[in-house]
Structure formats: C-alpha cells, structure tokens
C-alpha cells in the first residue's frame, strides 16, 4: 500500500531518531544533526498558520516587544531565604503603573500570589509574567489575585505591561529602593534587585507558600502553584 506523505515523514522521523545512539560522536554526526535542525526550521515556516502580530504592529513596536529575547540573561544562585510559611505577610503600600496605591491588606478575603521578579524587560521575567497572564482565568478560579513586584519605576512597569499585554498589577518597589523586597527577605544586595521569589498569601494574610528560585533564571513550577492554591482552598 502506498504511504501518504505524512506517514512517510513519520517513518523517516522515527528512523532518524533511532539512528542517533548508534552513531559515534563525529563531525559527520554533527553535520547530520545540523541538517535536521535546518530542515525543521524550513518546515516551521511552512507550518505557520496565524497572522504574525508584526503584520499588525509597527516595526518599532515589534522591536521593543522582542528586546527581551536578545537581552543579556540573568544567572546566579539565590542569596536570600525568603520568609517562612506560616508567618504573617508584611503589609505594604506601593504604586502600580497608573500611580494607584495598592495595599496588601486591602486584598484580605482573597488569596494573593505575590510575584517578586528581578527586572522588567529581562528575558526570564518576560516569559514568567506572560505565563501568569495566560493563566489569569485559572488563578481567578482559585480565587487568587496575582501581583508582580520589582524595583522598576511605575513608568517602566507601564511600558512593559503595555508591550507584554500584562493586565495584573505591577508594583514599583522603587523608592525607597527595594524596601518591600527587603521586608520579604528577597533583596539581592549584590545586584540591586530582588530574587525571583513567589509567595501565596491566604485570605487571612498568612504566608502559605514561599518559594525563592535556587537559581535566578528558574521560574517556579506553575503546576506546583496550582496544587498549593487547591490545597489552600480545600483547607
């Protein structure tokens, strides 16, 4: 029976994958691997379905929106332990991107997911907050309000939120610089910005989950986040 093009490609792909462990490391093996990667990139162009957003936005906006992809990465181990589970979350008031005051204790009665992140416009931070933006419906189902905090100014927050389509509050821990990050024991003194850390604060203002990323570019596991929220809501 004649194979369809799809069946043929599937068979070829499987055979290619099976060959890898049989080949010794060599320039020839590397060349084959590179060739495979090049073919996938060509197929990627052919597979594109939806309109690329760049067609609807100016070139300058696209350039800004994608700056984070080529920005220098952040790496390094955590320097701070964060606050312990079971402790009262310190209250604070900070400005959001629209210069509105946001006070933590005003959110009593809801779960709060407090996301400390190093800086706007940086690679991992851009991906992390976009991940949470895509999950806002699920956070709402868990009765959780997501709030981001970094040492950036409210002007940076406003621009970054506009470019990344972030709609949850981003708070400016700007002046005094890093005051709230220090209160939550996540301020990296060597760098001048916070750890990548996440707290879940329950409806009574108690910290029920505390996570400081062991390496600053590590994003907390979102499956673990939702498990924690479910556990809190069931308690």
């Amino acid at each position: 029976m004649a194979m369809t093009p799809e069946d043929r490609m599937a068979e070829l792909t499987q055979r290619f994958g099976q060959l890898e462990p049989e080949l010794e490391a060599s320039p020839e093996k590397e060349a084959l691997s590179i060739l495979h990667a090049m073919i996938q990139e060509v197929r990627r162009d052919l597979l594109k379905g939806s309109e690329i957003s760049a067609q609807e936005t100016s070139r300058a906006f696209e350039k800004v929106a994608n700056l984070y992809k080529s920005a220098p990465g952040m790496e390094g181990p955590a320097e701070n332990p964060g606050l312990a589970v079971g402790s009262q979350a310190p209250d604070f008031t900070l400005l959001d991107a629209n210069a509105n005051q946001v006070t933590l204790s005003d959110l009593r009665g809801k779960n709060v997911v407090l996301v400390f992140y190093p800086l706007d416009w940086s690679p991992a931070c851009s991906d992390q907050l976009s991940l949470y933006q895509s999950e806002l419906d699920d956070f709402a189902k868990h009765d959780a309000q997501v709030i981001g905090i970094s040492v950036d100014s409210l002007y940076s927050h406003g621009a970054w939120a506009a470019v990344r389509d972030i709609t949850f509050p981003l708070l400016a821990d700007f002046n005094p610089h890093g005051e709230i990050s220090r209160l939550y024991k996540v301020m990296r003194q060597t760098d001048g910005f916070s750890e990548r850390a996440l707290y879940i604060i329950d409806r009574q203002g108690i910290i029920r989950y505390s996570h400081v990323s062991p390496l600053i570019h590590y994003i907390p596991d979102i499956y673990e986040l939702f498990e924690q929220l479910e556990s809190i809501n069931q308690a």
């Binding site: 590179i34 495979h36 999950e135």
Partner: protein, 96 residues
C-alpha cells in the same frame, strides 16, 4: 502525563502524538504544557534535566542545542515554538 518510562522510551513515545521536551523551571516549557492542557491535547512531558535520553534527542534534533521547549507533534519537531506555531501543527495533525 509525566515522563515516559525509561524501559520502553521509544515504543511509548511512538504512541504519544505530542511530547514536550523541556525543564520544569522554564517558563516557556510551562507555557506550552499549560497551552496543551487548556486545549485538552493529551501529551507527555520529558524532563531534559533528569532524562539523558530525552536531552540527547533534543540535541540530535537541533544541531546540538539543548533547546527548551522542543515539542514533537507526530513527525513535526518544533523548537521553542510560539503558540500559533503549536496551533498550526496541532491543526495540521488533526489534534484539535
């Protein structure tokens, strides 16, 4: 669904239409997995930090790079794909 068992990786993987190769700490990997969850697309996850065979596969497919996520949708290998690229591949393979 979690990592494919190591004793029958290729057989198991051949039966999985969608496999996400990545890390638990990568936002893009998490985004892709959750995208598939929300669209009710059955898939498995191979953790390239813990699964050497999975890491070797990714390097083989990408010219030596440990790119994450790398998403296998039937015979399509998508390296760090955007959501519209994933959607196009899912539609092409009649998975949505």
């Amino acid at each position: 669904m979690e990592n494919v068992p190591k004793d029958k990786p290729q057989e198991e993987e051949a039966s999985q239409a969608v496999v996400v190769f990545g890390t638990r700490w990568c936002a893009a990997t998490q985004y892709v997995r959750r995208y598939l969850d929300r669209n009710d697309v059955a898939h498995s996850f191979r953790d390239i930090d813990r699964d050497k065979e999975a890491a070797d596969k990714v390097r083989w497919w990408t010219g030596g790079y440990l790119s994450h996520p790398t998403v296998k949708i039937h015979s399509d290998i998508l390296v760090e794909p955007l959501s519209n690229e994933i959607q196009a591949a899912l539609e092409k393979n009649n998975l949505v």
